[in-house]
């Protein structure tokens, strides 16, 4: 038509956001197979990064619930996030002759090579779930992957800052470089700012996992003091960062002028989206969907099938326009397509 290019480039960010506001649809990751016949009676041994992180243990519990009806046994190695406990878990999995080991959510296979090799030698594949972005190279000896679209998530939280300020974003990004997924997320953020908001300002502050509670608040508060123009805090991981970032905003007396966009979709933080005064948007993940994807990939591999290349786990943007759909417990908003989709794929009734 006759209308020229977008009135302002930030609308591109808005368009990207809008695209991800709808309920995601299920796309089969690979060919259908008979799960009961292929994987029945086998054991998945899950080693979560830390059982103390709620979303990690929630995913593990989902897998257990999903795989049960298929006849797959699931063992969860409860731990407090110490590498020596992971090593012990790997050894226990090998000793118990598990059929597959799942390193869940932050457990870096680069750091467990001797054990992964030992498992491989015993014919036990190690599946790495919820760690890499699709474009990230995986560590060697890994038997399968269930990736998360971190880069897309990063782009979306940047888009929110850009769109919400109508192209005048001045954002501070709180990173945890120690976490593997920070890299693709930051890449996504930078890309969006370059594309839709070249005049915007972007700053970073990094903390380690151990310093989350003691450092985020002072760091963010200092940044807000140092640059009174800051209007957005981009928090990569919601439950680990948002409470402290929000405290900084409150303590700096900038409530209402500085907003937060974040990722993970933890219920407590989605609740803050509903409250709306500080957190304006949260890129949600569906932990049950992820559970299905991991179960799917594990059963394929245990059953001797070709692993899927892209598990196609989606994310969804929740802001004040659609937060009501997350339900009273902030766990809904994903429809049912994936449940029936996976069941059909596995040949269940």
């Amino acid at each position: 038509t006759g209308v020229a290019a977008p009135t302002a480039s930030w609308t591109g960010a808005q368009a990207n956001l809008n695209k991800h506001k709808a309920v995601p649809t299920f796309v089969a990751p690979g060919p259908a197979f008979n799960a009961k016949a292929r994987a029945g009676g086998k054991t998945i041994f899950i080693i979560p990064a830390s059982s103390q992180i709620p979303f990690v243990s929630t995913i593990a519990n989902h897998i257990k619930r999903i795989a049960g009806p298929v006849g797959v046994k699931v063992t969860i190695w409860q731990n407090q996030g110490q590498p020596s406990q992971w090593v012990q878990g790997m050894n226990a999995a090998i000793a118990q002759r598990a059929s597959a080991i799942v390193l869940l959510a932050g457990n870096d296979p680069a750091g467990l090579q001797p054990q992964i090799k030992a498992a491989k030698a015993k014919g036990i594949p190690t599946i790495v779930a919820h760690l890499y972005d699709d474009n990230q190279p995986a560590a060697p000896n890994v038997g399968g992957l269930v990736n998360i679209p971190y880069k897309i998530a990063g782009r979306l939280i940047a888009d929110q800052a850009i769109a919400d300020t109508k192209g005048k974003a001045n954002a501070i990004v709180v990173t945890i470089n120690q976490v593997k997924s920070t890299l693709p997320m930051v890449a996504g953020i930078r890309e969006e700012f370059r594309k839709y908001c070249s005049g915007c300002k972007l700053k970073f502050t990094d903390v380690t996992i151990a310093d989350v509670a003691t450092k985020i608040q002072p760091n963010v508060q200092a940044a807000l003091t140092g640059d009174p123009g800051i209007n957005y805090v981009i928090a990569l991981y919601d439950s680990a960062e948002v409470p402290f970032a929000a405290a900084a905003i409150r303590a700096a007396g900038r409530t209402g002028r500085v907003k937060v966009s974040t990722f993970n979709g933890t219920p407590e933080i989605l609740k803050m989206v509903k409250q709306g005064d500080i957190v304006t948007m949260n890129v949600g993940e569906n932990l049950e969907w992820i559970g299905y994807a991991i179960a799917d990939q594990s059963m394929r591999i245990m059953g001797g099938l070709e692993p899927v290349k892209n598990a196609r786990v989606p994310v969804r943007v929740f802001d004040k326009t659609n937060i009501a759909q997350a339900g009273p417990n902030f766990t809904s908003g994903w429809g049912n397509s994936y449940v029936s989709g996976y069941r059909k794929l596995w040949g269940l009734r």
């Binding site: 103390q52 508060q221 200092a222 140092g226 409470p243 303590a251 933080i269 609740k271």
Partner: protein, 338 residues
């Protein structure tokens, strides 16, 4: 138990064996404050437009009240010669109790605060009982209870962050201000001043000191050693709980694990604080100065935009250098006069 008698004494009595000049005394006393001043000057020169602003100092003072209070919680047991490693866990537990009662069970914020403080009191009571009645080393008791409490927090919270604390608490902690600084700051200072008074001008403070410095002598002098040590643990538990209330008020939520990361910074501040104001004794005002000295540096670096690791390098070396400084004042004098 007598073993730990001298254990937590920060000073160097051997060095004190020499009488020394007033100048060195003052230098030792105020070395940390001098270092603090220096840090302010350096960053003031490097970033005058952002560092030397009221907003910045309001940030510095307002953001560390929790650490101040937690550090103060350590002082009664340290003075009595005991370690309390459970303060950070107790802070987490009381904050979580407050959040659960207020958010999940709909208690009024006042009642929830009372409950949170009672929880701290109970922890102190248990710690004290184990240390005093069973005669177990305080370090291992509180390491044990700390881990236990961490488990309890995960249990009662189901590992979830609880948010949605009533606004009034948030208001009186971080939103409302006096002279531009959130009220939390003044709570910390008020507590510090009260403790200073108790330690310095009330018999019970000196009794505690006697217990810490010579448990047997204290007993021979008719001091109720067991009762005082127990009391110190209870005080520690209650103050930690108060820190937990402030923490939850600051965050507007309570999470199950983050409080533990305050433990080592609190110990660092307590020991660093023992080198200033009243060198050789754990003292509240020194501890407060130590907290703010360290955070001023960190904030300055933050404003310079340096990487995280530089903050850690600063923190580590500032700790050692500040102590070394006050130690050198003492030494130089000792060398000069002895």
């Amino acid at each position: 138990m007598i073993s730990t008698t001298e254990s937590t004494e920060p000073a160097n009595p051997a060095a004190r064996e020499r009488s020394r000049s007033r100048v060195a005394d003052l230098m030792e006393r105020y070395a940390l404050l001098g270092a603090w001043g220096l840090v302010i000057v350096v960053f003031g020169v490097l970033r005058p437009e952002t560092f030397l602003t009221t907003a910045n100092f309001s940030t510095i003072f307002g953001s560390q009240a929790i650490l101040v209070v937690l550090t103060l919680a350590l002082l009664p047991p340290l003075t009595a010669g005991d370690y309390d490693l459970s303060v950070a866990a107790t802070m987490g537990l009381s904050g979580m109790t407050l959040a659960i009662l207020n958010v999940d069970h709909g208690w009024s914020i006042a009642m929830a605060i009372v409950a949170a403080v009672v929880v701290g009191l109970l922890v102190g009571l248990i710690n004290g009982a184990l240390v005093v009645l069973l005669g177990i080393d305080s370090l291992i008791v509180t390491l044990g209870t700390s881990t236990f409490i961490a488990g309890v927090i995960l249990w009662i919270s189901d590992s979830q962050t609880i948010s949605g604390i009533s606004q009034p608490l948030i208001d009186v902690v971080v939103v409302n201000r006096f002279l531009g600084i959130p009220l939390a700051f003044y709570y910390g200072i008020a507590l510090g001043v009260i403790m200073f008074y108790v330690f310095e001008y009330m018999p019970v403070g000196r009794r505690l000191l006697f217990v810490g410095r010579g448990r047997n002598v204290a007993r021979l002098s008719g001091i109720r050693v067991a009762r005082l040590r127990w009391g110190a643990f209870i005080a520690s538990g209650v103050i930690s709980a108060f820190a937990g209330v402030l923490y939850t008020g600051t965050l507007g939520s309570a999470d199950p694990t983050s409080s533990l990361s305050f433990l080592l910074p609190a110990f660092a501040a307590a020991f660093l604080g023992a080198t200033t104001i009243m060198p050789g004794r754990f003292n509240p005002l020194g501890s407060i100065a130590a907290v703010y000295f360290l955070v001023t540096g960190i904030t300055g670096l933050q404003l310079l935009g340096v990487q995280t690791f530089v903050q850690q390098l600063f923190y580590g070396s500032a700790l050692v250098l500040a102590v070394a400084l006050s130690q050198l004042a003492r030494r130089r004098d000792a060398a000069g006069s002895g």
